[in-house]
Symmetry: C2
Subunit: 379 residues, 2 copies
């Protein structure tokens, strides 16, 4: 087990469950999702379960909707809709999405859901399919109101402590802890480290969105979810996809896209005081600049965080340079790259719309010092 540093951990929180009404969204809905991406491998040769006569029903895909709902009960969310193709099963949830491949489950949930509570069930489901955990990636952006979450989601420290009781992982805070940042926990038990791996995932997490754009995602009489998907420009982001979309009442929108073996998913919180949109995909591109430009053009965020996970053999190449091009109308605030000895890199960049950028001057500093209680003793 790793040498644990309790330095940034709030020990007082351990075991703490926030007691207030966890569905109190009076200060705005918590759009930023928690995301859990678990990859599995066979427990032994030939151990992976399959259903005779159903060639796509292999591994985790042998699990039916009802059983997944039992798993999801632990995270406090429900299945709204299901779509499948030859490669995966996709579920739109009351709070975000679940994608199931034969050896991989990617689930993201927003609001005050308790995503990490379902890990034990997920591990057990894998075991019943003849699979064992090979890799666990838990990630999320900083939350708007962490104190409204349920343990262990009130703080990344608690989440890390929770995960460390099960896995031997690495935990990173990527970006400025004062502002927009992205928390990442990775436990990697994969054997055969010399194998060239090619997976990559790309996420864009957007805040302060254009109000005119966001109006489209309030429920309107006579306008279907599909109308909104087409009219907003979402349908054109990755053409040729099978799309499962849902318009919430009175507002909010979710969609899952299936493009052959690749998923993509969008979740929208349109209220102006807490507007948030996430875009997430594992589509294999040599670079994401064009896709990023299209996403920004559709949603027009005031600021956004882009995150890229890329294994050494991924088509996007070295992710360090992945976001080096100028993003029109946006200024990069900072970029964080983590290189892992398991053969993959993660890069997170924060951007702000140019006309919304605030500069801080030395005059502000002088004012800060003068207005604070710090003792300016004459020496």
């Amino acid at each position: 087990m790793p040498i644990l540093s309790t330095e940034i951990f709030n020990e007082a929180d351990a075991g703490f469950v926030y007691q207030s009404n966890s569905n109190d969204y009076s200060d705005g809905f918590e759009g930023p999702e928690k995301k859990l991406d678990i990859r599995f491998g066979p427990i032994s040769k030939g151990s992976v379960k399959s259903i005779a006569g159903s060639p796509s029903k292999v591994g985790l895909r042998t699990i039916d909707k009802e059983k997944w709902q039992t798993v999801l009960d632990s995270a406090r969310c429900t299945i709204i809709s299901q779509t499948s193709n030859d490669h995966m099963d996709s579920y739109v949830l009351s709070e975000s999405s679940l994608f199931v491949y034969p050896r991989r489950a990617m689930i993201k949930t927003c609001g005050t859901t308790t995503l990490l509570h379902l890990i034990a069930k997920m591990v057990q489901v894998g075991k019943e399919c003849g699979l064992e955990v090979e890799m666990v990636v838990f990630s999320r952006k900083n939350l708007n109101q962490p104190s409204k979450q349920v343990f262990p989601h009130c703080s990344f420290s608690d989440e890390v402590n929770f995960l460390n009781k099960i896995f031997d992982g690495q935990a990173y805070v990527m970006g400025d802890v004062n502002k927009d940042h992205w928390n990442l926990y990775i436990a990697d038990f994969r054997k055969n480290p010399t194998l060239q791996r090619t997976e990559q995932t790309f996420e864009v997490m957007m805040h302060d969105l254009d109000e005119t754009v966001m109006k489209q995602f309030f429920k309107r009489e006579g306008v279907s979810a599909w109308d909104t998907t087409v009219n907003s420009g979402i349908a054109d982001l990755l053409p040729g996809s099978m799309i499962d979309d849902f318009q919430f009442d009175p507002c909010g929108y979710s969609m899952n896209g299936l493009l052959n073996e690749f998923y993509w998913t969008i979740h929208i919180t349109p209220e102006s005081h807490c507007s948030y949109v996430s875009f997430d995909t594992n589509v294999a591109l040599a670079d994401y600049n064009q896709l990023l430009a299209k996403v920004l053009n559709v949603f027009k965020p005031g600021r956004f965080t882009a995150a890229l996970y890329a294994e050494d053999g991924a088509p996007c190449g070295d992710p360090y340079t992945a976001f080096d091009v100028n993003v029109p109308s946006y200024a990069i605030q900072n970029k964080t790259v983590h290189g892992f000895d398991g053969g993959y890199d993660v890069v997170v960049s924060n951007y702000q719309q140019l006309d919304k950028k605030v500069n801080f001057s030395n005059d502000d500093l002088i004012q800060s010092i003068e207005s604070t209680n710090i003792d300016l003793i004459q020496v």
Copy 2:
């Protein structure tokens, strides 16, 4: 002011001062230093103080030893020795070092010193010299026993909150928060962002050092500090330097090196249960691989963290590739890079001696799940 995230902050700690004897080192001395690097600029044209007839006495160098001691009183450490050359004044302290350039003060203090308490005095001293703060960099490795520190040094969260009351900075946790990592706070108020800046600093923070090597840094009858500096190989690390060294009784060693306009400094905690050595320099090299190899050869750590700060015009070039070469006998654990829009990058890498590397298997994972309280409900 920035949008504050309290997510990883321990609010309960705010204002908290650890009440036990802060000089209780029964569990080992806290070697890892806190470091504060403040750069100043003139308040106005011609404002910078100088002393007629003493060409090197400009700006902060007009401050004498007695006045610096008054500043250092706030951090709870004392000046042991002073050395100067044409470019800087160097002070060996009871806990680490202070280097003073006309417009820059770099101070690092170990143990349970209260480094951030001296900021207000430092700002005031600058003002008296006709200088205003241009940039503040506060950094430190994770501590062995953070709870033995005095507020705000019990946690990085508290340090960030403390600094945010004065500056508008960015805060980063670099590396795995579970293991060795490096905390960084930067507030940059420099004007003229188009100016090509060339500063770079290189630090190596070493743990679990070779016991035979460490024996040299226990006080021995008839062996001077200079004998140790020469015999240990320290004197050869950067030949041609002016060296101010000090052997503590019964153990511990500090040295300041002055190589023209560059500083270097080493601090050693040799006791086997808490052994730690830091090497820190701003010497301008095109790459640090050879210097790093020499440092490792002298001290033989079990594990170490290397940190490089480099401005865009620094001779070392892009720091992302700075540590890409193989370090013989050591395996890289992870690498974190932060790019800042102010025109500088910081890279932090963690390494472990090859024969001390511990691997974690899937069997351990299964055991962890089985031995934990997490409920494996049949679904």
